[in-house]
Amino acid sequence: MKSKRRGLYATVAAWVALGILGLLFDGWLLSQMAIYFCYGMFAMGLSLIWGQAGILSFGQAIFFGAGAYGFALVTLNKIPGLGVSVAMGFVVAIVLATALAAVIASLTFAARGLSGAHFAIVTLCAAVVVETATTRSDYLGGYNGLFGIPPLSWNGTMIGDHALYYLMLSITLLAFLSVVAIIRSPYGTLLEAIRDNEHRVRHLGYVPHHLKSAAFILAGALSGLAGALFAAQFGFVSPSLLGFALSTQVLVWVAVGGRAVPMAAMLGALVVPGAENMLSNVLGDVWLLVIGVLFVAVVVAARGGVFGNLLRLPLPQRLRE
């Protein structure tokens, strides 16, 4: 039993450590870390569909970018009648990302029974199409994107670095708890069963594409929220947020961290871009080699990812004797 609880202790320790980090740093570095929590949430969404349900998507940035653009459009007052409220920005961001995920799910899982490599290719193409279309749209700012998104504020004053860090940490923790609640429910068990043998799931009376669509839409919504929070902190959105490149990056973060364990995927999304930020100055293009080798090593040798085994939570009590 002791070894089984290790994952729980390690997970709690990781959150405590993230809390303490906020006390050790300030300024640019701290705000950078706050932005990475957006990647962390984005990664947990991917972990839900890829790690839990085995749905490999090369288009997750569509939803992250949709959230970012949705937030930008509202806060820059580009949607007539909605005003410029930050709250409305988040609502539009999440609704937009959710709707796009629902459309893609209904065109793929539901209508065509697509899965596996076919689904991956369709999502890849969708990401390329959405990115290209965005660069052509003047309304969305074309290549340059949209600038001047107002920073998050409270009663008219800008939220300081530390407050922002802890705000982001709290939102990410909530997202983590939600994802964990989902995957530890019987629905989560069904997603795992679909990953293992979708055919058998159908022959037990379920409609797998409904269950997969639900997961895909939830992941889309979470990615949309992450994208909106990103836009709010970064102050600027551009087509690369919607595209193939970011979609692939998040796959790498999640694979390196550990796709089947949300906390591991989240840490992958903090550590990999964080290391990239620090090391790419020093290593230059060698960095790409390092991350490439790490990715291959994980895929070949450590399928659970770097943090997966350490942070895997014990099964829910009801599934133990």
């Binding site: 019987p186 069963a193 058998r200 409609v207 269950l211 099964l315 009801r318």
Partner: protein
């Protein structure tokens, strides 16, 4: 229970795969509460028959009725929800999951909770789960990964997973494939328990003569997509067509 209408009625069922005629006009009826076996050599169309009954494949011609309702053309999930559950020839269990998780998948949708929200909020009953684990003989192995189980254990687990509250007809595709003689006898016993204690109707397809004999149920003998004889074991084993087309082949196998 002897009602006027049979529970399952298969009428003139034909299935062609391109030029291959897998089923060539099969008809039979099954009464509620009975156990029947369909015996036939490999490739005679047994699995195809199940694929047609449970909606995995479309029929070329003919019809399938369950409780007097036509079911061919319905989706597999609908047919399962009507109460027809199937055990696959290659055990359809979830190898990456534990025994307890496998049983949770089987039971979570009971009482119509097949959708996302129903499953998210479902509170699975421990008692039911433990009962099925007992049927599977896996009470001590709830936390084992299914990949670690023996072939026979997987077969029993899969049968147990079919025993949801709403199941009424079990389709068992070669449930003793790859089993020892003792395990085979245990499965025959289990099938009788399912009929007598769970009140289930069971249709077994098998190529293994020994199992069908042990089962002691009425037998339909199939060959080349047709039913060529029927009766109890003694009757069919005397039938010259059966001896020639099936027993002869089995003796050489």
């Amino acid at each position: 229970m002897s009602t006027s209408a049979p529970m399952l009625k298969v009428d003139g069922l034909v299935k062609r795969f391109g030029g291959v005629v897998a089923l060539d006009g099969i008809s039979f009826e099954i009464e509620e509460g009975s156990v029947h076996a369909i015996l036939g050599p490999n490739g005679c169309g047994k699995t195809t028959l199940f694929n047609l009954i449970d909606g995995s494949l479309k029929t070329t011609a003919g019809r399938v009725e369950f409780d007097g309702h036509r079911i061919d053309g319905l989706s597999s999930s609908k047919i399962v929800r009507m109460g027809i559950a199937r055990k696959f020839q290659v055990p359809g269990v979830f190898n990456d999951l534990t025994v307890a998780q496998n049983l949770e998948v089987a039971l979570a949708g009971e009482d119509g909770r097949f959708g996302f929200l129903g499953l998210l909020l479902a509170r699975p009953e421990r008692v039911r789960r433990d009962r099925l684990a007992e049927v599977a003989g896996l009470t001590e192995k709830l936390e084992y990964a299914v990949a670690e189980l023996s072939h026979g254990e997987k077969q029993r687990l899969e049968i147990a997973m079919l025993l949801t509250r709403n199941v009424r007809l079990l389709l068992l595709d070669e449930p003793t494939a790859g089993m020892s003689v003792t395990e085979t006898e245990a499965i025959a016993e289990l099938v009788c328990v399912l009929r007598d204690e769970h009140g289930l109707t069971v249709l077994v397809v098998e190529h293994d003569l020994l199992f069908v004999k042990t089962l002691g149920a009425p037998i339909l003998v199939a060959n080349d997509g047709k039913i060529i004889a029927s009766g109890d074991y003694d009757a069919i084993s005397q039938d010259p067509r059966v001896v020639q087309s099936y027993l002869g082949a089995a003796a050489n196998a």
